[in-house]
Amino acid sequence: MIIKKYSLIIIALLLVVGGCEKESPVHSNRVVVALSADITSFNPLFSFSVDEGVVSELLYLSLVDFTWDEEKGNIKPGPMLAKKWEWSKDSSSITFDLRDDVYWSDGRKFYAEDVVFSFDVYSDPGVQSRLYGGFTDFYTDDENHVNVNKTFEVIDSFKVRINFKPNSTPTLPEIIFHIIPKHVFENVERKSIEASEENFKPVTNGPFKLAGWDKNQTIRLKVNDQSFLHNPNGVSEIIFKVVPDYNSRLTQLKKGEVDFVELVKTEDIPGLKQVDYLNISSQKGREYDYLAWNNIDYELYNTNGKIKPHKFFGSPVVRRALSYGINRREILDEYLAGYGQLAIGPVSPIFKGVIDSGLEQYEYNPEKSKQLLESEGWKDIDNDGILEKGNTEFRFKLFIPSGNPRRNYAATIVKNNLKQLGIDVTIESVEMGVLIDNMYKKAMDAWMIGLYIAIPIDLKIAWYSDLEKTPYNFVSYKNAEADKILDEISEETYQGKLDSLYRQLQEIIHRDEPVTFLYWVDNIVVYNKRIENININPLGTIHHCWNWTVRK
């Protein structure tokens, strides 16, 4: 009885005190964004994950800012640390005029030397930054380290020229990244930078600065009122709250404990629509799901490097038949419920200038599919319901990543659709890490996965024939005609010509159908209506969030 009495008193006290201290976010000028995992470093050199990239974008500035041009469907460069820039006539160098009113958070001024130092560190093999090895247009040594003396001319404290090596085709997006402070890192041994304390007490120059980091709980960013980007009417504080459990993120969103959640599943949308203070939006065209058909006999390739077409999927006609035989629209309508669109190839519909809208979808047509399979010699000779060609029956394993309801659902539809054609599919669900490892090892016949695409558009990483240099060409697609166009694209800088080359490439890929492109999947974002001025675009869901305002 005594225990009961005291426990009640204690609980009551806790509720009162806890309740008193809790400030409702609804009345503040701060915004709470849910993250699924904490970050491991604030240093942009090591922002390997998407979330680390998001946080470092708010803390550090780049020379040039990119925004999304909705009309043209492409990125548009604008000033940031550089007020303006000028390419030399032959594009062999670029000169940046830098702002002279930018300060680091420790009070030191930003100079051109910081720019030179950043290129030096990002490309240093001892640092192994996320961009290491990527400075192919620069003068570098054998270890891909940028040769600073040959590359940079510091004209004055706020003017710097970058010289590129001959016959290179540098573009702005390739050379833009977050600049780090020289005075902080110049005395740190390069190999020790990744573990240095400075990564956790960052000296920054962005629109926000770090106000606190409660590891695995919250990251608090306060607005930097000294920044030229400072908006007095904007958000004063952004809090990234680490909530690993998806359901908890939604619960907190509904309760107003967090204001912004992304990667929301379509099955939760009806429930969230009932909450009148939530807005539902989506980022389109950054990720597509596809059914990968291994184009080559991977066992032979892994044994002696020889290329032989795969016994089922080596023929483009069979691959087209499979695409005709799968009801992608059913998956799209039933599962994605409007938050996606059918994919016709690897080019996202967001790239309006590049997408080839003249291509025809492989609409669900089982009869046509059967005809195509028969034309390739796949017939059910023994009437057991399974197609044969010689002694080979058409049956294979389809690997999918575990714990993904969308792909589970889609795999079931695929299995049922292909069964009607006489193809026996066994679904194997494996952990994502295992699946990715097998993709790199080219050790599966067929699998289903998604691909998050790069901006600006880059098709060479996935569709170029040189399998050694193209690690993302998991299905080992090979086409000399496509290679020629991809090579031309790498050397072309004129946008009009590029658009035409990309259209030609899409036609080739569409004809070969190396994989069955399923659908583009929206990144569904749900946020509290009190946040205004949100611009969700392909570059990011919280891109340029210093422009957000909070309704009082």
Partner: protein, 328 residues
């Protein structure tokens, strides 16, 4: 006698060390032969595959597995568990950031479980097969059969979503840095109530079952009847005779359960977003952070072995007759 104890203690410590050695050896090979590649995360796909080899070299993954193992053992003996691939820091410093929370969380929960299960079982045996006893037997069975994550989600739904009494996740409010010391402490407690209940319920059910049955057994012994006949009060019978006789098996179970609970915090930490070892281990496994997986496993294995050892010592301390048997 003392030399016997010392000899047995040394023997026990030695065998514990062998178990630890076997565990980390087994894990070392298991994580390396299991599929998955830790290097991919750090390599930009647009770059040459040669770079992947360089990263592999920097992570010491280019050497043959037995050489990696020898290198690992040599470093581990000197207390160096390697550098975490993800955190880019010493494994021991990463673990030290996460371990205190798990230890504190588990200890508080363990004490809570002990108090509640003790209280319930004593109340239960006061009237065996009474309404309270029968109801509790069924309720504890139900709790025992319910997975921890279901209990967690259910409690969040009731107390956080429907009633809005407790926060649904996290260790503190995001603005708790602005609070006074006491308010911050209260904020922590406020956040930990649901996780502690979630973690404790199943253990309470287990302890209750053991203790209640032990108490009933002892109550049915002849010496209790004798004591009653000699006019010893019921309170004295319970406190001085029944409990001391019933508690021994519970301590063994508690030692084992404490170890299991360290693993059980994993689910609770994920459901409630708490910064403990459980979440660290899961992240390390999914990202193939080999040194961290092994470091965490080593610490958890040590804690399990240590809690069992501690339970045996306590048992022996309470009943000297068990001394050699417990330690051997």
């Amino acid at each position: 006698m003392r030399s016997t104890i010392a000899r047995l203690l040394i023997k026990r410590i030695f065998s514990s060390l062998i178990i630890l050695f076997l565990i980390i050896t087994f894990l070392f090979f298991l994580v390396r032969i299991s599929p998955g590649d830790p290097v991919q995360k750090f390599v930009n796909p647009t770059l040459s595959p040669k770079l992947a080899e360089q990263v592999r070299e920097s992570l010491n993954l280019d050497k043959p597995i037995h050489m990696q193992y020898i290198g690992f053992l040599t470093s581990a003996i000197s207390g160096d568990l390697g550098v975490s691939y993800n955190f880019r820091r010493d494994v021991s410093s990463v673990i030290l950031e996460y371990l205190p929370f798990t230890l504190l969380f588990t200890s508080v929960s363990f004490i809570f479980q002990m108090i509640v299960s003790f209280w319930l079982s004593i109340k239960s045996v006061k009237k065996i097969n009474g309404l309270f006893d029968r109801a509790l037997s069924n309720i504890t069975l139900l709790i025992y059969a319910t997975p921890v994550f279901v209990t967690g989600v259910f409690l969040v739904f009731i107390f956080s979503e429907l009633l809005n009494i407790f926060p649904s996740s996290g260790l503190s409010s995001y603005d708790s840095a602005d609070f006074s010391f006491w308010a911050r402490l209260t904020d922590y407690i406020y956040h930990l109530i649901l996780p502690i209940i979630t973690l404790s319920l199943i253990e309470i059910a287990i302890f209750y079952k053991y203790l209640r049955d032990n108490l009933e057994d002892v109550y049915n012994k002849l010496f209790v009847l004798n004591l009653r006949a000699s006019g010893v009060s019921e309170k004295d019978i319970l406190l001085k005779h029944v409990i001391p006789n019933a508690i021994n098996p519970l301590i063994t179970i508690a030692g084992i359960e404490l170890g299991i609970m360290l693993g059980g915090t994993l689910i609770v930490e994920v459901v409630f977003g708490l910064p403990g070892m459980g979440r660290l281990i899961i992240e390390a496994i999914f990202t193939r952070d080999y040194p961290l997986v092994i470091g965490c496993s080593l610490v958890v294995s040590f804690l399990i072995i240590f809690s069992n050892f501690l339970a045996d010592i306590i048992k022996a301390f309470l009943d000297k007759r068990l001394l050699t048997g417990s330690l051997n």
